[in-house]
Point group: C2
Chain length 501, copies 2
């Protein structure tokens, strides 16, 4: 019988080779978003397809399957090794359930839906997109069948993004959104609205950029193991924990555009930089889940970067940089401005309260699409009705309505809920960090984030995929997801800003 250590080495060799190829793909994708010249698109597409197929072949090979089958039975592996093997085995079983022909079909459909989406947006007409979306939804239903599921087919898709997430767990969460947030919104709408007009003065691009770099450095983002660039849609990508890159965008006439994107992506990046280097390419070297990833970005963006303590340190710095633009803006006015709550149509521009209605609406629509209760032809109408019902605003066209997100083109059904979960976990983690680190905010007021980052590293980052989101949350805070933490965070914040206690 082969030694477990030797088997594990064979496993490492294969998985890390696949990771090399996948990280190479990520470099090509990063380049495509950031620096690739326009005409390079076609060949880049085939290069990415080839790399994906090469990695897929390795990770679904019979040889790999046999190796995992043998390894999961070995009890003389170390704890971390056992965790890696167990998770890889789960991934393998899942990957194998999808036939190659299905992968090809959905890849082709994804690119087809994306092209049609682009046209539909240009023409501002959902109908042209509906038929392609219909095909994609049929494929996602098929995928749910391939995966198998309990209770609800949507559960199978949710699991692709958030292991353990189910309709039974999420329905109550979004019910709480529907129940708890409207009274707050109501009070805010009755209070005196805060001003944020000064964000639209002229802020020189390079100075915005420099300020974001200062902030990222203070947060602890390691620029020797990462970099920031411009891209149309901000994102974070990683080619190992030693090369984690973020992108941001800039608008000279909207100060809110660059900075909080940088902080948000910086939060994602700190997580990736904090994953254990020696677990390169392995489950324990990867993030726990999308929701936990999002908890890190939102903790930094919202709990920290839109907090009073943060700006106690940074506002004087910013005012020095934009002396003219901010001369008549007090720290308090600046703080209130960045936290202005107001119903709007576009998810990515929404404030911390109304945001979750955007997600909830998508969640409800996705569920109904997957069960067939909602016909893809009718999404636009359903969308607009729900926006009117929950946010009191009705899209005047599809571009500011159902056509605003790219996710469904790529078949990402079940992804949106992780955004809200991320905010809720963030509030819960932050509450725990406050409890455990009495000096947290006095540090933040001095531009010191070392203890907070260390706490996140110790409690979350170092574990990779060792625990599911719920397990990790319980390990860190003593309980599973608790929506009341988010509510406390929201009430504390907006009671002060809108004076609505």
């Amino acid at each position: 019988m082969q030694h477990s250590a030797d088997l594990y080495t064979s496993y490492l060799d294969l998985v890390q080779k696949a990771a090399d190829i996948q990280y190479a793909s990520a470099v090509l994708e990063w380049d495509q978003e950031v620096y690739m010249p326009a005409k390079g698109f076609k060949q880049r597409g085939r290069q990415l397809a080839t790399l994906a197929a090469q990695a897929h072949d390795l990770l679904t090979s019979d040889k790999y399957g046999a190796l995992l089958q043998e390894l999961v039975q070995r009890d003389d592996l170390r704890l971390q090794q056992r965790a890696n093997v167990k998770l890889s085995h789960e991934d393998y079983e899942k990957n194998r359930r999808l036939p190659s022909s299905f992968i090809e079909d959905i890849t082709r459909q994804s690119s087809q839906s994306f092209n049609t989406w682009i046209t539909a947006r240009t023409e501002n007409d959902y109908r042209t997109y509906a038929s392609e979306l219909k095909k994609m939804i049929a494929l996602k239903k098929q995928q749910a069948e391939y995966y198998g599921y309990e209770q609800h087919p949507y559960n199978a898709l949710l699991n692709d993004y958030e292991k353990g997430a189910t309709v039974r767990l999420l329905d109550p969460v979004f019910a709480m959104v529907r129940e708890n947030l409207p009274p707050i919104l109501q009070k805010i709408s009755e209070a005196k609205q805060v001003d944020n007009g000064f964000f639209h003065r002229e802020f020189a691009k390079d100075k915005q950029w420099d300020f974001s770099i200062d902030v990222l450095k203070k947060m602890g983002y390691d620029f020797d193991a990462g970099r920031q660039d411009y891209a149309e849609h901000p994102f974070t990508t990683s080619f190992s924990s030693k090369d984690v890159r973020i992108t941001t965008r800039v608008d000279e006439h909207n100060f809110a555009s660059l900075l909080w994107s940088s902080i948000h992506e910086g939060g994602h990046a700190l997580y990736e930089q904090g994953l254990p280097e020696h677990e390169y390419g392995l489950p324990l070297g990867s993030a726990a889940s999308l929701a936990i990833h999002e908890s890190q970005s939102r903790l930094w963006e919202n709990c920290v970067g839109r907090g009073t303590h943060f700006w106690k340190y940074f506002y004087p710095v910013l005012q020095r940089s934009f002396a003219e633009q901010l001369a008549d803006v007090t720290e308090s006015a600046f703080y209130k401005g960045m936290n202005r709550v107001s119903s709007s149509l576009i998810r990515t521009e929404a404030d911390e309260v109304t945001y979750h209605f955007h997600v909830m609406i998508r969640y409800e629509i996705e569920k109904a699409l997957i069960t067939g209760e909602l016909d893809p032809n009718d999404i636009s109408g359903a969308w607009n009705d729900m926006y009117e019902q929950y946010l009191g605003v009705r899209p005047a066209d599809d571009k500011t309505g159902v056509l605003q997100d790219v996710h469904w083109c790529h078949g990402s059904f079940g992804y949106f809920p992780t955004y809200s979960l991320g905010s809720f976990y963030a509030a819960q983690f932050m509450e725990e960090a406050e409890r455990q680190l009495p000096e947290l905010y006095s540090d933040v007021e001095q531009g010191e984030f070392g203890k907070l980052l260390h706490w996140l590293r110790e409690n979350i980052h170092q574990y990779g995929r060792m625990y599911t989101s719920e397990e990790l949350c319980t390990k860190v805070t003593g309980k599973g997801l608790d929506f009341t933490c988010f509510m406390r965070y929201i009430r504390n914040k907006y009671n002060v800003i809108y004076n609505i206690v």
Copy 2:
């Protein structure tokens, strides 16, 4: 029996998949030189190694061999298809001659030599590097044996960079360098030296950059299928004919640093952008040889970009951009300054005449190393003696002597001669272009390069690897490499500049 068309499709599928992987590697290498954060090095190294192995496995597989074996016998393929198959078959046979263990050894030694070279340069001491170089030379001798050769083992290595190149062909070429150039250098040394001190005034980086972009656009470089970035060592790389990138460097106090690097790399890039898109990843979609590649960069850099006609158009533009710096510099003085001939120690900074002594010295040393006539421990001494003999300058240390080039670290023995061949082919092509395009220089004087580029596209670029350098040269100019063209070019140019007719 399988249809030839089907077999050819299988061939395309395999070769173009390997090309996808190789181009992906090129993206990772580009990124490594241009944007990668410092700590990303280690994992990038393993990612590149994995991709190289994946491509190598495809291109040396028995399956591929059998396919090629069958296809080379088919006579019902189109001319271009036959050429692709024939060249791929040659490549395959060659690749198969090197055992995997040898590839691993030389890859490891390359990285080891490179590290030692870095240290040796820092410590300015050749001796620490000699023992690693010795191992590399032993491996290259071994490689020559694996390949097999006629007459001289160095021929096997030369062929890696320049198919058909042999000592028997190159010895006379470098003999002509030794015979024909010294009298010119002698005359120049007796003439009044031209001034180029004004190059060292302060030239703002961004304005240098903008000017290079203008020049590249005028040359016909397509920025929608390419881009320019900064890198420590300028280079050109290609991920398809629709994504061909160049890099340059900048020195605020040396105007010569950026511009001619850009033009040189631009020349390489125009070649790559001119390769047929439908031959993606195939021999006919690749450059003919390193020498022909270099002929394109040097034709643009020297024959065009250091010529009077070019500056008739561009000097007024440049003077507007650097009004203060160039106020007292006439067009003629500027032209002479950029063509100043003066013996020096560093190859990459050498002028068009002395340059070929730098190459000749390396060529002679490489030959002697491969036959064993020269011991690696003695290179430094031999190098310095030859510099003194041919250029009249003796390196004061190894950093400005034998340690200046990176090539030998990577085992690139046989590469240097292609630099000189490139210059000689360039002069010969340009002479032919002048003959065939009567309006060539009147166009250039108006900043119009369209006809020249078209001529290069039609006569050289479109063929890819269809012809060897010598075949192509004969097809274009009616004869094989003719050193007298270069001599005419040099005499015409320097007779005027130094007034030495």
